[in-house]
Symmetry: C2
Subunit: 223 residues, 2 copies
Amino acid sequence: TPHVYEYERDPAAIYRQSFATIEAEADLSALSEAARPLAIRLIHACGMVDVAADIRLSSGAVEAGRAAVGRVAGTASDQTLPIFCDSEMVARGIIARALPAGVSPVVTLNDPSVPDLAKRLGTTRSAAATELWRARLEGSIVAIGNAPTALFHLLEGIERGWPRPALILGFPVGFVGAAESKQALAERPHGVPFVTLLGRRGGSAMAAAAVNALTLGLGGDGT
Amino acid sequence: TPHVYEYERDPAAIYRQSFATIEAEADLSALSEAARPLAIRLIHACGMVDVAADIRLSSGAVEAGRAAVGRVAGTASDQTLPIFCDSEMVARGIIARALPAGVSPVVTLNDPSVPDLAKRLGTTRSAAATELWRARLEGSIVAIGNAPTALFHLLEGIERGWPRPALILGFPVGFVGAAESKQALAERPHGVPFVTLLGRRGGSAMAAAAVNALTLGLGGDGT
């Protein structure tokens, strides 16, 4: 007789049980009411409740991100809001159905100008790609889930007078520069609202989850 | 005077330092020589050296994956090798430049037939999407980085006689079914070579990293 696999198949039940498990296990007491759905989505994306302790955000950061989305959603004009992502993976993790018209992920990493720009600037392609955000950076949302150099380069730009995004979601991951870039964001955000995760952990799924928290809260996506 | 950010900007140096840190910190002693580059890439993708202890793979799994890629790379014919991914994020994390001609990621999640199929089968879209892999599953590579239901549904299919992939890379993440689906893969792989990570951790970046290890080893991708 064939082996029978017992598992939950209902998407809504999977979401509900996931969030319930997270709420039961994670210590979210240091976070504001507005920040908790975002924290829950970050935990949901990585499967680790203990990341809650490493989340850092500026006061009102979630509200600032929601307001940026809301400004576009509420207008009849052709106003747009770019969500600048440092990788295609981040962009693909953003739940498109939840984005109001005019709000869309933008990835400049594969722009044909980027390899030469990176050489000229003596940096990575990921960092050079943030130069192409500059003209539309004012009031935008930035979601970095891969490259520490992208976050560092953005902070350097803002330090030198680049326009200010409405919110930086800083989740680079890894062993070289990730912890340092996020520490730099948390310590010296130049007045820009931010959400980040201290340490080596992070990644594109968490960066995308942070965006999804702004548009969906804890609502499901129907998958 | 403006704040000066000190960080590594050279892509090759970043890769080199990352892998050196991982080799210094991670305990890879339980893994075969062939499995170590894959383990290092998994760790690199998530920023956590302790995942090494949760990696499980069948004997010869990495070699089986490399052979599947090599069979296509070595032919002058139009033979192809699909890498079936359960999400666009996994597909986007696969380094396209490293794929030989004929080897390409395939994502069926957004096929127009999937929502109705999911309803009919009483399961998630992710699980239903694996039904569309069936015709080309024989000898393929499967990379699951998101949905436990996709891995469970694939295992059920193989149990009932679906064609066998050359390799299953099983990295669903989260709180409902992720640990259970990977445990099921490790305990009852039906003779299919596999690599997985026990527990709740996983994700699309790790699934993609496992694919990249097959094609690149520890080589850099130039970003």
